[in-house]
């Protein structure tokens, strides 16, 4: 009395399932995914900190010392990263079994609430990404700065893309492993 997994899985969230990229890794998939997520997180943080440190040590060119540095990394540049970080926290605080909608839990509204918070988390992350792109365009590109100052905006976009990738990799790694255990437990 078991349905074949390839046809239809009632626990599935998405209509099209995520492609199994690294099935051959087997039981190490969760470990590897968590490591990759942590690496992406650190990469995001250091990309932005690189821009911030570079901005703090920016000096006028040597041949014309009176020319001031036109732009610095301020608090506005930190806001998209903080948004993405909050979104990542919200996403990872959700119990993943609730979102999947198993009927074993007594409260049926818990699934609805979990999905609402998942939506809030992804909205925060998307807001951070969109905010970083807006920051790049409004603060750096439209003002016509030189290429070395445009790097601050590019680093901000790269930070938010990496944070989103980190959250997605972490989610896939943790939820795929639980399905693996679940299928073995039956």
């Amino acid at each position: 009395m078991s349905l074949p997994r390839s046809d239809y899985d009632p626990r599935r969230v998405c209509l099209n399932p995520f492609p199994g990229l690294n099935i051959s890794l087997g039981k190490h998939r969760r470990t590897l995914g968590v490591y990759i997520a942590g690496g992406l997180f650190a990469l995001a943080t250091w990309t932005f900190l690189d821009a911030a440190i570079l901005s703090a040590h920016a000096h006028p060119p040597y041949n014309e010392p009176d020319y001031p540095v036109p732009v610095h990394v301020g608090f506005v540049d930190w806001v998209p990263g903080i948004n993405s970080l909050l979104g990542m926290l919200v996403i990872n605080l959700i119990d993943k079994d609730r979102v999947r909608g198993d009927e074993g839990f007594g409260d049926s509204r818990a699934v609805w609430r979990a999905r609402l918070f998942l939506f809030v988390g992804f909205a925060l992350m998307a807001g951070g990404l969109a905010g970083s792109v807006a920051l790049l365009v409004l603060k750096y590109v439209l003002q016509g700065y030189q290429e070395q100052y445009l790097y601050y905006g590019y680093a901000n976009v790269a930070q938010n893309v990496s944070l989103m990738l980190s959250a997605v990799v972490l989610w896939i790694a943790q939820s795929s492993s639980s399905e693996y255990e679940y299928s073995l437990a039956i």
Partner: protein, 131 residues
């Protein structure tokens, strides 16, 4: 167990070379900021060691390698390792340290962390024999 002695000597030699590279990268330019790389890589295996005992108790199956604290430890480990490699790059990018010091500290840090990893991998089976 005969291979244990050679492994220990080789690994300690590599560890000494790694610390030599890091300390040289500081001392040659008399800028001691790359010493943070050594500190980072020494701290790197600590989260896994702390959180690995939180995961499985005696009643759980061996398949269950996934629990929250273990994942948190791995996450923090990956963060620390990437930090160790990217800290010299960031410092060299903003011209606080020289590019030579950056390369030397990255190589030294990689040697130190590789020593720690291979030490854990080489002597892992000795621990499991006591179980």
């Amino acid at each position: 167990m005969a291979a244990g002695l050679k492994t220990v000597i080789l690994l300690s030699f590599v560890l000494a070379v790694g610390f030599l590279m890091i300390i040289l990268s500081c001392a040659l330019w008399s800028n001691w900021l790359p010493l943070l790389v050594a500190l980072t890589f020494v701290v790197a295996p600590l989260p896994n060691a702390l959180f690995s005992h939180c995961g499985a108790d005696d009643f759980s199956t061996d398949l269950g390698e996934g629990s929250g604290p273990v994942d948190l430890g791995r996450f923090i480990t990956a963060i620390i390792v990437v930090t160790g490699f990217s800290l010299p790059l960031v410092l060299a990018h903003s011209e606080i340290i020289r590019p030579g010091a950056c390369v030397m500290s990255i190589v030294g840090g990689g040697l130190v962390y590789g020593t720690i990893l291979s030490y854990t991998a080489a002597f892992k089976q000795d621990d499991s024999e006591y179980d």
